[in-house]
Amino acid sequence: MVKDRGTFDFGFFLTVMILLSFGLVMVFSASSYSALNDYNDSYYVIKRQLIWALLGLFVMFFMAGFDYRKLAYLSVPFLLISIVLLVAVLIVGTEVNGARRWLGIGGLSFQPSEVAKLAVIIYFSNSLAKKKDKVKKFFTGFVPYLLILGVIALLVIKEPHLSGAVVIVLVGLMLLFAAGAKIFHFVLMAIPAVAGLVVAVMMEPYRMRRIVSFLNPWEYKMKEGWQIIQSLYAIGSGGLFGLGLGRSRQKLLYIPEAQNDFIFSILCEELGFVGAATVIILFIILIWRGIKIAINAGDTFGSLLATGIISLIAIQVLINIAVVTSSMPVTGMPLPFFSAGGSSLVFIMMGMGIVLNISRYSKGRG
């Protein structure tokens, strides 16, 4: 086995490094003013983000050298641990803004939902790779995975962390799809899901308002629409070439915590359409290289594992940009590599390390 091992996909690695650096620059630009305002130190946020980035790099290189096939053995315990953590966070989690999403260990804290994302990907990849064609069976091949997703999603929703749950469910479904599950089964599952959504909206009309507010944020300027209008002001102010790096005016507290979910808007404002398109294209390259690694992976487990990790990144990027451009209902979704989220960057880098490791065993290299 050792002799299969080649060098990792350099294009993928380079794209990751560019996105990571770009992200750090934007975090600094977006956070400096509010950090000065809140902590009297414009470097407060970037200092922490740099530490996480270094830790992330370390984890990425570690994982790039760690044989991903060994992860298969860990898949079940890892899933169980993540479920235990999801339960634990509901009991002893740190409450921030009315939500228990963070677990603290020593001086560090992390989100169990991040662990759950990777755990689901590893478990699904391993399990589905073994299942092969049996995945086409409804009760033995399809439903069990939905149940696992259901349990985890419910736990995450309980925090509450709806967008986290959405990501986990979507990644799981995509893996089921990639593994060859029947399209008919998805359609079958979609019917009760749509029905449930309709019922939920009918029970609490404000949900409907929240859902449609993105269609015309100006109609809800003072309430739901406010944040999104501020985001659009930033995006629109950027024009073609932007106001220049560091020159965003919307980050002057008009967009609260500009370094988090709305960092893409600040990027649009400072670097214009040119910058925004560049970033999206960088993500497209990352996804393309990642999927290429998945297709060329040495085994089905590696292939599904890479697909899961890349899908995880893709889902978050697409939802985040869709939200800030008012293309879908508002939901708190960080932009991978860009949003200052502390430990989440480490999990992303871990994923990148795994993909890099998979690339070393690709068929193209013999």
Binding site: A178, Q250, L252, D299
Partner: protein
């Protein structure tokens, strides 16, 4: 391990296609916002990201016609804070303590304001430079001083109703301040600065600065000196005659239409225009609260600010006979020596209309005497000779049907009869100024037309507009309205009106050295029979070449007399006297006047008797020597005293007997001739002012004084209209 199946690869590739399609869609979506909607969004964004700060412009000065400032703006500061910056600096307690101390506010009030959850808070407006400098010295973060201006009126209670006052935002509230607000206020400048969502200023390069444009100065036609004369004499008259509804006076230059003075009494201090001056109203206001107070306060404020001379109309009474005369003479229906007979009344359409002196009818008189006597039947006769059509046309021609067009907010026109209702009875009463109203300003303008060879002018209150450097921006030229009567008629009428003062009912307006022409007026306010009158007098001088026209109106005098000839005429006389001297109009004394001209008694003590006698003779004074010495050791009156010509100075020499003091006799109610005789016979000197009956004497009757002492006696015609 086996490589992934073809199905899996196809499925994964499908995912790639989905992702890339979605990503490209989002690129397009972003581009749509940035390029298609960019301009609109950027505009809205800048609107919320910037703060417009107004730089107030200096308000223009209001000058009198000779460049004396009547309303000026001084620069002051307004203190404001950005609470967020103070919060950041973390010294709210210190800032509150220092600011409250300097500004004389309570600590709590300041502290609450500077810690308020707002973007911007005013602390105090219009603070003096001294206080502002102290605050500047503290250099607190988040505390801002912005230049502002404050209006000062150097003369306080002076032409208050004309100049008008300004409000807290330096906006004109009434008067010239309001009418010329758009010129005076200039153009405020702007600073556009970036701010964050909490309102803190940001150092960004898209800051713009637009300079403020200074206000334009307004130069009035008002002459500060004449205005002061008018205010002084009018105020005295209003107080002495217990005038209930206030008095108004206007002085106009008939040749240009310039308003030289316009006063309303009682008045108020322009530096404190919101304080109700009327004590009774103030007392009643104190009892009210809330909405009631507000309503009443506003009414009282409006009343106080009301420029009676332009806004209020009144029944002109006999002063209107000037115009009935003008029409009659112009239309040749009456000659100066036409004879009329007064039986005390005239019968019109089965009504007996009384002459004001029906208790003692004027009998047979010429037209000129009729004017001097202000005899009503004479004017009724003239009006009927004219006919209502002509009469009506002239009333219109003299400008009584329209506003004068003066540059002043709220001007009204009086109310004359409608043409279709102008019948015999209306014509008869209108002939002597009853049954309709005019404004004081209309009256002054119309009389000015008589004084100005029949040419009616538009009154002018503002002469010029000038810029900060004093350059003239705009000049308002005198405007001719129309020729109402001929030059000749005007001259004839002026002579008649002069005789009204020199020989008739206007005698109380007589002043030595100047030929005053004028007409008295007294009208009973509606409803009649309540004993409420309006006394007025309109006059001009000199009669042969009028320099000024002056009208004085006293609304509801409750003193000893309510006749215009008695209480308003002397005010006009005094105003004209002061004004003509100030304007350096050469006085022309008649022989009779020269004889009794005031002389100042010289120092005669230590002079030889002969020498002293010659000195007195030269001054047109008589002398009486007591004792038989050669040198004068004492004199009565003392040097510096004013004596009428032909008075006697008593000279004491060595060896003079102790002279007995004399008792001042009572002359009140006596005629000039009788008073003169009584006082001279008592061994005293008399100094006469006015003519008619003695109404005041000083020293009072019964006082014991040395012989030769001057007794000042004021005379008034009491038997006047």
């Amino acid at each position: 391990m086996a490589a992934p199946s073809i199905t899996i690869k196809k499925r994964i590739f499908t995912l790639l296609i989905i992702f890339i399609t979605a990503a490209i869609a989002l690129i397009i979506r972003t581009g749509w916002w940035q390029i298609h909607e960019g301009e609109r969004l950027q505009k809205e964004a800048i609107e919320q990201q910037t703060r417009d700060r107004i730089i107030s412009s200096r308000r223009g000065t209001i000058y009198d016609r000779n460049g004396k400032p009547l309303a000026v703006s001084a620069s002051v500061d307004t203190v404001s804070v950005i609470p967020n910056e103070i919060k950041k600096a973390g010294n709210a307690e210190e800032v509150a303590a220092k600011l409250s101390e300097v500004l004389g506010m309570s600590y709590e009030e300041v502290y609450n304001k500077i810690t308020k959850n707002s973007a911007y808070e005013f602390i105090k407006r219009k603070i003096e430079k001294k206080e502002a400098d102290i605050i500047r010295g503290y250099n607190f973060k988040g505390v801002y001083l912005e230049e502002d201006s404050k209006r000062y009126y150097p003369y306080g209670n002076f032409a208050s109703h004309v100049i008008g006052a300004t409000g807290t935002d330096n906006q004109g509230l009434f008067g010239i301040e309001a009418k010329y607000d758009k010129y005076l206020k200039g153009m405020p400048g702007r600073i556009v600065a970036a701010k964050d969502a909490l309102g803190t200023d940001m150092p960004y390069p898209y800051e713009r600065y637009i300079n403020a444009e200074e206000g334009t100065n307004v130069v009035l036609t008002i002459d500060e000196v004449i205005q002061h004369f008018v205010e002084k004499h009018l105020e005295t008259a209003v107080i002495e005659n217990k005038v209930q509804q206030g008095g108004a006076a206007i002085v106009m230059d008939p040749k240009t239409g310039d308003i030289l003075a316009m006063a309303v009494k009682p008045d108020f201090d322009l530096n404190n225009p919101f304080e109700i001056q009327d004590a009774q109203a103030r007392e009643e206001l104190e009892k009210l609260t809330g909405e009631e107070f507000k309503k009443r306060y506003e009414i009282e404020l409006g009343k106080m600010w009301r420029n009676k001379a332009v806004v209020d109309s009144y029944e002109p009474g006999s002063t209107f006979k000037i115009f009935t005369s003008a029409m009659g003479l112009e239309e040749n229906v009456v000659k100066v020596d036409d004879v009329f007979t007064c039986r005390g009344y005239a019968t019109v359409a089965n009504h007996n209309i009384k002459c004001w002196r029906s208790y003692n009818p004027h009998g047979t008189q010429t037209f000129v005497e009729g004017v001097q006597n202000s005899c009503n039947p004479v004017f009724i006769d003239v009006a009927f000779r004219l006919g209502s059509d002509k009469f009506y046309r002239y009333v219109d021609a003299f400008g009584f049907m329209d506003k004068t067009g003066i540059d002043f907010d709220g001007e009204t026109a009086g109310l004359f009869h409608k043409k279709e209702n102008f019948n015999e009875l209306e014509l008869a009463t209108a002939a002597f100024g009853q049954g309709f109203t005019v404004t004081p300003l209309q009256m002054v303008c119309a009389v000015s037309a008589v004084a100005n060879d029949g040419l009616l002018l538009k009154p002018r209150l503002v002469k010029q507009l000038t810029d900060v450097d004093g350059n003239v921006v705009q000049t308002f030229e005198p405007e001719i309205v129309r020729q109402v009567i001929s030059k000749e008629t005007a001259a004839t009428l002026r002579n008649i009106l002069e005789s009204v003062v020199s020989e008739g009912t206007g005698g109380n307006a007589y002043i030595k050295g100047f030929r005053v022409a004028g007409k008295t007026g007294t009208s009973e306010k509606l409803p009649r029979g309540n004993g409420k009158y309006i006394a007025s007098f309109i006059g001009f001088a000199p009669a042969d070449d009028p320099k000024v026209v002056c009208l004085v109106i006293l609304d509801e005098p409750m003193g000893e007399s309510y006749y215009g000839g008695t209480i308003a005429a002397p005010v006009v006389g005094k105003i004209l006297d002061d004004t003509l001297r100030y304007l350096e109009v050469e006085p022309k004394f008649t022989e009779k006047e020269l004889e009794t001209m005031d002389v100042i008694v010289p120092e005669l003590r230590n002079m030889e008797v002969k020498e002293a006698q010659n000195a007195l003779k030269e001054l047109n004074l008589k002398n009486k020597v007591e004792g038989n010495g050669n040198t004068i050791i004492d004199q009565t009156p003392k040097p510096g005293a004013k004596l009428q010509g032909q008075s006697t100075v008593i000279l004491y020499t060595e060896g003079a007997d102790k002279v007995e003091n004399v008792v001042v006799p009572d002359v009140l109610g006596k005629s000039v001739l009788d008073s003169n005789r009584i006082i001279i016979n008592a061994g005293l000197n008399i100094r006469i002012t006015g003519s008619g009956t003695a109404i005041k004497q000083e020293p009072a009757a019964g006082t014991v004084v040395p012989p030769g002492t001057v007794v000042n006696v004021e005379f008034r015609h009491m038997d006047v209209d």
